[in-house]
Symmetry: C2
Subunit: 257 residues, 2 copies
């Protein structure tokens, strides 16, 4: 029987504010079994880019990453945000190790081909190195993954944190019984976007289709759920979509095979 | 018999200019046996701090690290400089892993006590975790160490790269036959500071004392050599002080037991 592993993805907001970061660190330290944390950092990147006179340009919620922006995200995601989380977890007895995809070649990506939009130095994940990650996990080390990958030719590439979490969960599902947790502002997928307590506890692919047809689920939640079903189909045992304030409780919306 | 390990420290200048960085990456990739790279990044930190409106204040060649400056060095050393080196080495077939002292608790430090000068968030090394580093090395992983440590209470601390290299070399000398290489602008310790070819090939502690008395060796070279003798006394087999352009050749000034 495979051992349990939890891959938790948290967005930029929670790790960039002192109070919510402390709560997250405490909650994450309490998660039992093998675990991986994947973090964002977009708000800090936008703020520091602005201070450096670099304008942040977003298309479909994704950052256009020119050479200067790549420097900013490499600094902010790989340095500032990642190392503060690592130091904070070490203080809580978690043997954290901060990683980008370049470190130990953990995540190799390809620069996104230019179609309608040139996203610049943005990477689409090609391969997650599971042997290395599972060796670390089994040695008691907890990987803290920044949303950066590399192309194997010396270039760091900016990579969506949801994608990193999903691809890592899928890859590790060959070796572990994986629960993938996406944290965001709401308590889960809502039946009524104006009622924070209208969380849909479970969703099947059929219900998802129906909710989309009815307009109950829309916008950014559609790709998030599509990714969740894809993860389940690729061997992940469970996906949980929940609030960043609720990492420990694992409430929210659950998707299972 | 212990296996050979080379700990190479390079300053900020070499890793911050494209051409010299490429040469360093090629040279470092060619170094045989177990190896560790320790890098600086002060020039980039000063530049980016200035762009962010943060004034860099130096005392005795050390950066006064207030809270804002700590953010800058965490970004620049732990993110920008470190991850570019890691990605560059991966492209050259070196399985590099970027580390700060917080990662896997590799280097624990204490905040420097305030005496005449308040250096702020600056750490003095307390302990290097050799078991973890030697396990990584034996697994074929090459640690790339940024000049940052942590206090075990959640704080990153800015730490001199020469010190990190020296302390890491000394700690690993219990398990490996260690050569410690300090790279800087000159070809080695010079007999005549105006003659770049007047490199002193070997120095004993007695000769060092004499050179200092005669004024041949002065300024920042004195602590560098004091650290070198201390490393030798603590079990490091050899210290080499050489040019950043000469990492592969291992020319320069040699100090042995």
């Amino acid at each position: 029987m495979k051992e349990k592993l939890t891959v938790i993805k948290v967005g930029g907001k929670i790790v960039e504010e002192e109070a919510s970061l402390i709560k997250l660190l405490n909650d994450f330290a309490d998660v039992e079994g093998y675990k991986v944390l994947v973090h964002g950092g977009g708000r800090s990147a936008t703020k520091i880019a602005a201070q450096l006179g670099i304008e942040s340009q977003m298309v479909n919620g994704r950052r256009i990453t020119d050479a200067d922006t790549l420097k900013v995200v490499t600094m902010v995601y790989g340095g500032l945000v990642n190392k503060n989380i690592v130091a904070g977890l070490q203080a809580r007895g978690v043997n954290a190790l901060g990683l980008t995809g370049a470190d130990m070649d953990v995540i190799r990506s390809v620069k996104r081909p230019v179609k309608e939009v040139d996203y610049g130095y943005v990477g689409d994940v090609k391969k997650v190195e599971t042997d290395c990650l599972s060796t670390l996990l089994q040695a008691g080390i907890v990987p803290i993954m920044a949303p950066l990958t590399h192309d194997g030719e010396g270039n760091i590439l900016n990579t969506n944190a949801d994608t990193i979490a999903g691809e890592t969960a899928k890859a590790l599902a060959t070796k572990f019984d994986v629960t993938l947790v996406y944290c965001f502002e709401k308590k889960g997928v809502l039946r009524d976007e104006n009622d924070d307590d209208s969380v849909i506890a479970h969703i099947t692919p059929e219900e998802f289709k129906q909710y989309v047809d009815e307009g109950v689920i829309q916008g950014g939640m559609i790709p998030k759920l599509e990714n969740s079903f894809e993860a389940i189909n690729a061997g992940v045992s469970e996906v949980v979509i929940t609030s960043s304030n609720d990492v420990a409780a694992m409430q929210g919306t659950h998707i299972r095979k």
